[in-house]
Amino acid sequence: MSSKVVSTHDAVAALSFKTLAAGGMHMHNNPMAVVFEIVRQERRIERLITSPSAALAADVLIGAGLVDEVATSYIGFEHLGLAPCFRRAAEAGAVRVLNLDEASITHGLYAGASGLPFAVLPPALELSDVWRSNPTGYRKVIDPFTGVAVLATEAIRPDVAVIHAAEADERGTAWLAGASFTDRLMAMASKRVVVQAERVVSSQTMKEHPAGSTIPGFLVTAVVEAPGGCRPTASHGNYAYDEAALQEYLRMARTAEGFAEWMPRAVPAAR
């Protein structure tokens, strides 16, 4: 049986995409090993799709100048501060921001994972300015049961999702330790899935994990073994985020020059 385990280089080199989704929430489970490789290979991302709350993975891709537009509801570092590259690029107009909220991302991914043509949203969402600020992402639809106009958003079907897992086996089945956030949904919504795993394990080990904590291998295109692959963000069940390293990033990435200096340290082979 052929294995889906490949090198990070080969996994990224084999990908063809316009839209890319990156998993993780805040400073947790950011798939940095693959993200750094995407930077190294300078792969352009027409649209980056984030989880409801992105952090380092999105900020680095934007900082590297690879992202044309980003569909997101939050990019930041929670109590540690704002996302420096996202902020700089958005303020300068260097990246186009497609504003969503967590409901639109979640229900949009659900629609993508389910083959639904679009996603209807709860009525409350109309009251915020989010949908007004993103005319490509939102439309009004007439509820056929009541005749009332309600808000709808696009189904999200990324070409590729990059997801961090604690374990994966050779056939691609992956186990997400701790909180899986929206990562499993993202994998189900995406045409191809690259899993970076702390450990490649036997299928025998994999089958001990509970329902709803795994991604079945038939949805996974490639597995990359990447111990420590979330650093300096946390890998649930494996290591905490490195607050000092994140603080250093936030300090250095405040300028384009500082970010350019930080990158090769974080990605030895980059540039």
Partner: protein, 238 residues
């Protein structure tokens, strides 16, 4: 510093707004509301519930409390909901009694903004984004908190509505808690008004630090300081 920090005072005040049996929810940067919820559970609201943001943890037991709302230490909890299900339930409009919300800007009506300061094109400050604040109209009550009480944060009108003050199924914003004071809302005008000042703070100080015209009554009571029991609980969590 009468034996407690501003954060402790704020957490204690916020905890009083959770009634027994109620369900609270919060987003990112939630150390303060998490502490408030834990304090409520340890004191007057033992049967209250809270969902710790992105972790999906229901009533996490972690002591001390982690700073990040998505920390895996939060998963030691009564039970854990996958995050998509938390987002689902937020849409129901009859599940969450109290929603703790923050903002880069908070306006006189209780709208909150995490999106940007300035115009859409080339904003002066691009914020992170509003995540789940657009769900506020479906919460029973909204409690707004900020660690920054200055005229750039408390403004007449937000530059972008991430969290609407208008409610569909509940009462909307009922309280703003800042390092200087608490505010509630005038039922006639819908505008924030000074409710209590923290010990040692004057109404004039609050007015000067507020970017909108703040209604102030003749005599403004002091915010009730945390009790000894409150402080015991809060310090175990810190």
């Amino acid at each position: 510093m009468n034996g407690w920090t501003t954060s402790e005072l704020m957490a204690a005040e916020m905890s009083r707004h959770i009634a027994d049996g109620e369900v609270a929810i919060m987003g990112a940067v939630s150390a303060l509301p998490m502490a408030a919820c834990r304090l409520a559970q340890a004191t007057h609201a033992p049967a209250s519930w809270f969902v710790a943001g992105g972790s999906g943890a229901v009533n996490p037991h972690a002591t001390p409390l982690p700073q990040s709302s998505c920390d895996d230490r939060l998963l030691d909890a009564a039970c854990v909901l996958p995050l998509p299900e938390v987002v689902m339930l937020e849409g129901r409009g009859d599940v969450f009694d109290v929603f703790f919300a923050g903002g880069l800007q908070i306006d006189a009506f209780g709208n909150t903004n995490l999106e940007r300061i300035g115009r859409a094109e080339h904003p002066r400050l691009k914020g992170p984004g509003g995540v789940g604040l657009s769900f506020l109209p479906l919460a029973g009550r909204v409690v707004i908190y900020t660690m920054t009480h200055d005229p750039r944060t408390l403004v007449e009108q937000v530059d972008f509505v991430s969290g609407p003050a208008k409610s569909l199924t509940g009462r909307g914003p009922v309280l703003i808690v800042t390092p200087l004071c608490t505010m509630d809302f005038d039922p006639d005008t819908g505008r924030a008004r000074l409710r209590t000042v923290h010990p040692g703070v004057t109404a004039d100080q609050v007015r000067a630090a507020t970017g909108f015209a703040l209604a102030v009554q003749d005599s403004v009571p002091e915010t009730e300081p945390p009790s000894r029991r409150d402080l015991e609980v809060l310090r175990r969590l810190a």
